[in-house]
């Protein structure tokens, strides 16, 4: 098939979802993941790093104060989209 192996473009609706879910993080982690200090910066992190960290928070294998509680609120799909959003943010 022609489509096999091609990158699947994210539709506008999916993009809006990812952006919206990522915005649930920025109250603590700063605008678009650019931290004002004192909280981990998320902007520009690799997608795999964020996905892995969230998996570990969820499993309780990563040190946390609040993130082990927050991480359980997101599905794998939501974490993927959020991670893509922050990975795409440019560092200042």
């Amino acid at each position: 098939m022609l489509l096999a192996g091609m990158a699947v473009p994210i539709s506008a609706a999916e993009d809006a979802n990812g952006r919206s879910w990522a915005a649930t993080c920025t109250g603590c982690h700063g605008p678009n993941g650019h931290s004002e200090g004192g909280m981990p910066n998320l902007a520009g992190l690799q997608k795999a790093y964020i996905v892995n960290a969230m998996r570990e928070f969820k499993a309780g294998t990563r040190q946390a104060t609040v993130m082990h509680q927050h991480a359980k609120g997101y599905t794998d799909e939501q974490v993927e989209r959020i991670a893509e959003f922050f990975a795409a943010q440019k560092l200042d």
């Binding site: 609706a13 809006a16 979802n17 952006r19 931290s35 509680q69 927050h70």
Partner: protein
Amino acid sequence: MTFSRRKFIKGLSASVAMVSGIGCATATTSKTAGRVVVVGGGFAGATAAKYIRMWGPDIQVTLVERDEEFVSCPLSNRVLAGVVQLKELTRGYGKLQAKHGIKVEHDEAVAIDTEKQEVKLASGSTLKYDRLIVAPGVDLLPGEVPGLPAQSDRILHAWKAGPQTVALRKQLQSMPDGGVYALTIPKAPYRCPPGPYERACQVAWYFKNHKPGSKVLILDANEDVVSKKGLFTKAWAERYPGIVEYRPNSELMEVDAATLTAKLSFEDVKADVLNVVPPQRAGKIALDAGLINANNRWCGVDFLTYESLAVKNVHVLGDAIMAAPQMPKSGHMANQHAKVCAAAVVALLHGDQVITQPLVTNTCYSFVSDKEVIHVASVHAYNPEKKTMEIVPGASGVSAAASELEGQYAEAWGRNIWADMLA
């Protein structure tokens, strides 16, 4: 290719403009996807204004806010302990205008005409809207407590960060050692569920270090501690024994202002500093606009859009809404409502689908001493059958114990959320 309704509508309006348009007003309005007016520049309103501009740069946004500067209610209990100054919790609105192109009107919205879709300001001018966002916070209702003066320099609420916060700090400083500070808490829901208990800790910390013979008396109308019960109870017992006394089921029935006496159902309590947190309701502008439809106090909303269930094209955010169960009236929650609403308003004005799986989170930090903090956190997802928000199973909890590390996070939370809404 997917069918884009947004492009279709844009194309349509452009052709309408061409057909109808020689020298008519459409030329000036065709560049904008719509006009949004936001009433109230707190955690909810400022965030909504900023995110609408971020996600919909073709939308005109006007923010109406009375005050020249934003003062954060969260973290302001620390002013009472004397460890933080109010100016450290104060931020300007300048970047909303300079960086995000929001028109900030330091004015007061005095009336909303939901038929004509316009907002009247105290200055006399009128703002027309396609979508209105009302984020007025709470009004305190001293009139519901007999004897409680509407305005008083002696009996303060300090439940809106500002001059009253500073004045309450001065009362505590002037109080002689051995005195009684009494704090009354109204029945839930009220703004900031853990706030009164944190306040008790902050005043107790100050007394312990400066006036150790003094007492903090918590007179709670609720039958038990409303938020972080185990952690607050532990803090009072272990850190402030002999200072903090907690009395549940102690609804304030009447106040004798002359003698600073709180009259409860079965006893009278005389205080040296009487701090009354009055019952609350969505801000008056919401009442006047017909947005209050729950318990005569709060505004029911659609949790996909935060559009009012009572009035079309008007959205309500923050403490003013009738929240779903377990969604506290907190600054963090208000910031989260605002982003769901912003995404929906942008989608609606662009003719796109609104998001059907919104998430909102909450993290409320409370200082139990000058440096140590406890939190409560939760993540809430939309339940389409019940049309409400529910905590995702497992995604909530409190601190294992108070810590200085969380104290640092609490301060960082402030810096980051203020930037999220204003920078």
